[in-house]
Each structure stands twice: as C-alpha cells, then as structure tokens.
C-alpha cells in the first residue's frame, strides 16, 4: 500500500512538473503507471524510458550544474591555446564591470556565476564558455576607448551565456547519448561502460563548443541575439547603448587588417552596425560621469 501511495504521489509530482517545464516525459509517467499496475517489469520500463528519453534530449535538458562543468572544461581548453594576461588590476576591473553588467541581464545568476579574464593575444577576440566564464583578448580590449564601449563587449558575451549559445553548439547525437544515461541512471552510480560513454560525450561536447568559439563562430542569428541582449543590458545599466555602434566602427579597420579572431568568427562590423542601429531608439545623450572614464583609463593603462 505504501509503495502504491509513493508511486501515486510520484505520478502527481511528475504531472505537476510536466506543466511548466516538461521535466519528465510522457513515457516516464506511462511506465510508472504501467509498473504500478503490474503490467510491465521494471526492466521493461527502464528500456522504454531510455528509448523515449533518447528521442527527446536537447540542450535544455542540460542541468545548470552540468553546464558549469562543461563551461569549466571549455574555458580550460581555450586557455590551453590562449595565454591568460596576468594583470591583476585589469582583471579586477573586468570582473567588477562584467559582474555588475550581468545583474542587468535576463540571467543574472548562473550555477558558478560570471567571471572574466583577459587574454594576452593581440588578436581581436572574446570567448564565452557556458555558465559564464568569459575571456577577452588584449586586442579587443585595446579597441575600447571608454567604459561604455568595454561594457558593450562584455554585455555581448553575457548575452551568449544568457541565451545558452555554447550549449546549443553541442551536436544533438552527443547530448542524447550522455543525457539518456544520466536521465535513467541518475539514482545509481554510473560506472564501467556507461561512465566511459558519459566521459566521451563530455569530451565531445567540450570539443563541439570550443571549435565553434575558436574556429567556425556562431550563426548570424546568435550574434544578433547577443548584440540585442547587449543593447538591453547597457540601457538597463545606464550605459549608452550607442557605445556598441561606436566600438564596431572602431573595430572595422582593425579587423580589415587582421583576419584572425572576430574577423573569422563574427559577422562583419558593417553587418552588425546595421542590425544594432535598428535596435536603438532615438539618440539620447547620456553624459558619463568623469569618474567612469577615470577608472577605465586607470585600469586599462597596462594595455597602452
């Protein structure tokens, strides 16, 4: 009787959970009912669940904790080929600015939070690993002439994190193999062949994301989404959203002369200027306090 009650309450929980998030599948609810009624065995139920789950996995099934671990390995991989720029005052400023900006985003809180680090390279580049580990090159930092422009850079990267663009670069089949094991075996110790499969899927996911960030770049649609998020964040925070346009203008000649980084992975500044221009309302001069420019100049002195 107690078992039946537990199953019944489990069913109710699943039904409730299904409404807003779809966390359990219809198949799972069905197999639970089937087991409760004694129509199918636990093994059959598991097999059905596994097959059903295999069809349904998407990046949205990745839990924030899993996103955090994927992001750490993506950042570690990027840092394997791009040396960090160990400038404590600059990195402290990047974190103050970036973590403040994230508070105005649609996703201010992630599992491990947002963290920022400068990279030593002179190529114009930035990488946002899932969960909020954001890397920005010296070359890109040197394009920025004000805190508002630097805020535009960091807000664009926060936009990628907020929209889960990194996770969406993971190939579908890979997610399915890993998350199917996790969904069905979550209550057990994953070991042996299953563990090997999970590790393999993890490595594959990290590779999918890293090669998208470093080599192929996101689709134009994702870049537009990140630029739109940046404009919203800047406006909410009290920065001038036009700083994004000004920065793109400043990047134009630099990207024309350097085919690495953004020139390879991002739409051209002209294309982005056209898109961002359409998002901005009528011009509104936002006078920046002198203290804002002073702290920017002080923190970025090491770049000049």
């Amino acid at each position: 009787m107690r078992r039946v009650l537990m199953l019944a309450s489990g069913l109710w929980l699943c039904a409730v959970a299904l409404i807003p998030t779809g966390c359990s599948t219809v198949a799972q609810v069905g197999t639970m009912a089937g087991q409760a009624a004694g129509v199918i065995t636990a093994e059959q139920a598991e097999s059905i669940n596994r097959t059903a789950a295999a069809v349904e996995k998407t990046y949205q099934d990745i839990t924030p904790e899993q996103e955090y671990y994927i992001g750490r390995s993506v950042a570690a991989t990027v840092l394997g080929s791009y040396k960090p720029y160990d400038a404590p005052a600059l990195n402290r400023y990047l974190n103050e600015l970036g973590q403040t900006l994230a508070l105005y985003s649609d996703r201010p809180e992630t599992f491990g939070g947002y963290h920022f680090l400068a990279l030593e390279t002179e190529e114009v580049n930035a990488f946002a690993a899932p969960g909020g580990l954001i890397l920005v090159s010296r070359g890109l930092l040197r394009c920025c002439r004000s805190e508002d422009e630097l805020a535009a850079v960091l807000a664009h990267e926060v936009g990628h994190v907020q929209n889960g663009h990194g996770l969406r670069a993971i190939k579908k089949g890979r997610l399915t193999s890993a998350l199917t094991i996790l969904a069905v075996e979550a209550g057990k110790n994953v070991a042996g062949a299953d563990l090997a499969e999970v590790v393999q899927a993890f490595e594959g996911s990290v590779t999918d994301i890293t090669s998208t960030l470093v080599n192929s770049g996101y689709s134009r649609a994702y870049e537009n989404e990140a630029d739109a998020a940046a404009v919203r964040i800047l406006a909410r925070a009290g920065y001038d959203p036009r700083a994004l346009l000004e920065l793109l203008g400043a990047m134009k000649p630099i990207l024309a002369a350097d085919a690495r980084g953004f020139a390879k992975t991002h739409p051209s500044p002209e294309t982005r200027i056209q898109h961002v221009g359409g998002l901005l309302g009528p011009s509104r001069a936002v006078p920046a306090p002198a203290a804002r420019q002073r702290r920017f100049d002080a923190a970025t002195a090491c770049l000049r």
Binding site: E65, Y69, E109, G113, H115, A186, F202, S205
Partner: protein, 157 residues
C-alpha cells in the same frame, strides 16, 4: 469562535497550502536577500537542489521561505521549477540531502572533469580556478554602480 470561523480558517489554510509554489535552487549557492535587490544584503544561502517555498512575487524576484524557516528574496534565475530526482532516503518534505545532490549531479561532474583533465594536459584548469575566485563583493558592486553613475541593479526590468 463560531463554527463558520473554523471552517473559514481551515479553508484559508488549505488555500495557502495549495497556492504555495515550491521551487528548487539551481545555482551552487543560492543567495537569499533581505530586499528584492542585488544590493539587498544576503541573509541566508541555500544549496543547489534545495527546495524553497514561494510566498510572493515582485518583478523577477521571488519572496521565499526556506525549509528551515528563513525568509527573504531570491532572483528567479536562481530558481527552477524542475524537480530534483528523489533518491532513497530523501523525502519531498526535507528536500534532497547533500548526498542526494551529488547523486543528482551524476554525469558531468567533478569525476568526469578529473578524467577530462587527465586526458588533456594542455587544458589550463589552474587559471579556471583563479578566474572562479575573482568575485566582486556586494559592497564593491555598490561602490562601482554609484561611482559610475549607473542605475541600481535588480529592480523592475
């Protein structure tokens, strides 16, 4: 007290129970704040997967009560309606214990990261850990916002 009053009280109690929404913390350290603001001061922290009861809403903020009775405000991005898979020993009432959270985190976790690290000597986790420790305290954010003439964060958006 009249009999109707008892009936009314009972009905109110019932409505209160049915209306309370339970959400789960989906960040490593869920910050419960004194006011609905990122500058509202942290009054309690709640771990990943733990349940909180939502009392009321204000924009992106949820007024919550933790299972041990502490109250405050959490941002909606720190909360999820997803159910944490219940393990043996955990009950809906107490939420998952810390062991069960580890189980809920099976898959892409510390152990998998360790295996990845062992197979990729070039990956730089030392700097990832340094990055993770770079965190502006609430007072620093407040100073940064005020000095820079920025809008106060976390209000109505």
């Amino acid at each position: 007290m009249l009999r109707q009053d008892y009936v009314l009280l009972f009905a109110l109690a019932l409505a209160g129970t049915a209306g309370a929404e339970t959400l789960r913390v989906q960040v490593q350290s869920g910050q419960v704040r004194g006011t609905p603001s990122f500058l509202g001061g942290v009054v309690a922290t709640v771990g990943y997967g733990q349940a909180v009861e939502v009392v009321s809403e204000q924009g992106p903020w949820r007024q919550v009560r933790t299972l041990d009775g502490r109250a405050g405000w959490m941002h909606e991005s720190a909360l999820s309606a997803k159910r944490v898979k219940m393990q043996a020993g955990g009950t809906a009432k107490t939420g998952a214990t810390s062991d069960e959270l580890a189980l809920a985190g099976k898959g892409f976790n510390k152990d998998v990261e360790a295996q990845f690290k062992a197979a990729h000597a070039e990956a730089d986790f030392t700097w990832v850990d340094k990055m993770a420790s770079m965190k502006a305290a609430e007072a620093e954010v407040e100073r940064f916002v005020k000095e820079g003439g920025l809008a106060l964060p976390g209000g109505a958006q």
